[in-house]
Symmetry: D2
Subunit: 132 residues, 4 copies
């Protein structure tokens, strides 16, 4: 499953180079991830309610072409890897089919105290999209 998130570029997201500041792509990837999880029937909010956290362990972004104010960009999000201790998401940011950036985020499962934890199969199946 892949989800698609539409984002209208905000003025506040530009920098003095006249393009979107590169740190915002990390935020956009998170927007994509949130939409992905909501599409699975569980938003981050619900996972947190269950006492689990997906803590970001790493991110990487490769920039291909700039985005500009007021443009409509799209973040396509997919699950690349899903284990009970570690989950990896992949992202493509594009505008009218042109790739602007691609990225990846690695997440470790913890409890709400930040200690390493193991995601219950029920939540993991949900993430993997395996039906009941």
């Amino acid at each position: 499953m892949e989800t698609s998130s539409e984002i209208r570029v905000r003025y506040a997201e530009t920098d003095q180079m006249g393009i979107v500041h590169h740190a915002n792509y990390v935020v956009w990837m998170e927007v994509g991830r949130s939409d992905w999880m909501r599409a699975r029937g569980k938003g981050y909010a619900e996972i947190e309610a269950a006492g689990y956290r997906l803590v970001v362990n790493g991110v990487q972004v490769r920039y291909r072409a700039p985005a500009r104010y007021d443009e409509l960009v799209r973040v396509r999000t997919r699950l690349k890897e899903a284990g009970r201790r570690k989950v990896v998401f992949g992202y493509v940011v594009e505008r009218d089919g042109q790739k602007l950036a691609e990225g990846e985020s690695v997440h470790l499962v913890t409890d709400d105290q930040g200690r390493a934890a193991v995601l219950p199969e029920a939540l993991l199946s949900l993430i993997r999209g395996e039906g009941p």
Copy 2:
């Protein structure tokens, strides 16, 4: 004329109090303003292309109730005052009809060098929504 902008609260917009950090409302008001101007047929992008800038001279926000991660909030934007040297926008941020915040932004017209300027009647009429 009033425009309505839907915003899905981003995780990055929350703070350790568990609610949306107050500075983000200023960004949301700008999102509302951008949508307002696009609805008028001229986005900020086009006004800038014509060599004019609407420089923010002041903002104020009054907070009523917190917004939280993943909620859908709505920014309603209206023109409160429109002169050739100064434009004032008013905003209401709400969720399911409940008012979360209200704000105002005052803008001065400048050229692209930041010098005080006078907006041509054509662009002003456009902003005011007066037809040809």
Copy 3:
């Protein structure tokens, strides 16, 4: 008492107009407020540890001149009003003595559940700078 906070303008804080985006002044005011409270011997962190919150009820900023990337700006913060239910801070942002902006923030006292609360005299005296 007035505190002074030095801030080096970040690239990420600029926008495509080539100046600091106006929403960042609200963040800078908060930096000034944090420094102010730390100078009083109690940072926000400690007030939160005691179970109280100073919830932002309103902010306003008036912009005078733009700040630019890599400049050193200064936020001068002072207490304008201090009650057990409501506290008001005033701010001046300047660069080399030139005023760039001035602002104000209004805060209401709540408990950690967000319910209106009354600040104990001890914490209030601390804020007011009244010695033992």
Copy 4:
């Protein structure tokens, strides 16, 4: 040469997990890079004045331990690779000697129109720290 940048964690940089939101590390790395270049006698501002841009081509961050509001963190920045078309910086974010994160950013040289360019030897020597 390595530079060291001290950053006081801002309240606005936290998220509802009670820690610094991960996207801010990308901004902090940029703060480190700016300080690095200023220490070399040329800030970004001057490189841009000369008509060149170091466009961010990629970033990656690996998170080790969280940072929290009001803490003093340190970004140590070093040049990992310096060519006339591509420059790579490496970063370590730490608090009291404990590593919180490490990252890397890859930059391509362009002109002020965003076209690939080749950095003059003079500016490159400056970056490399080779004396006259």
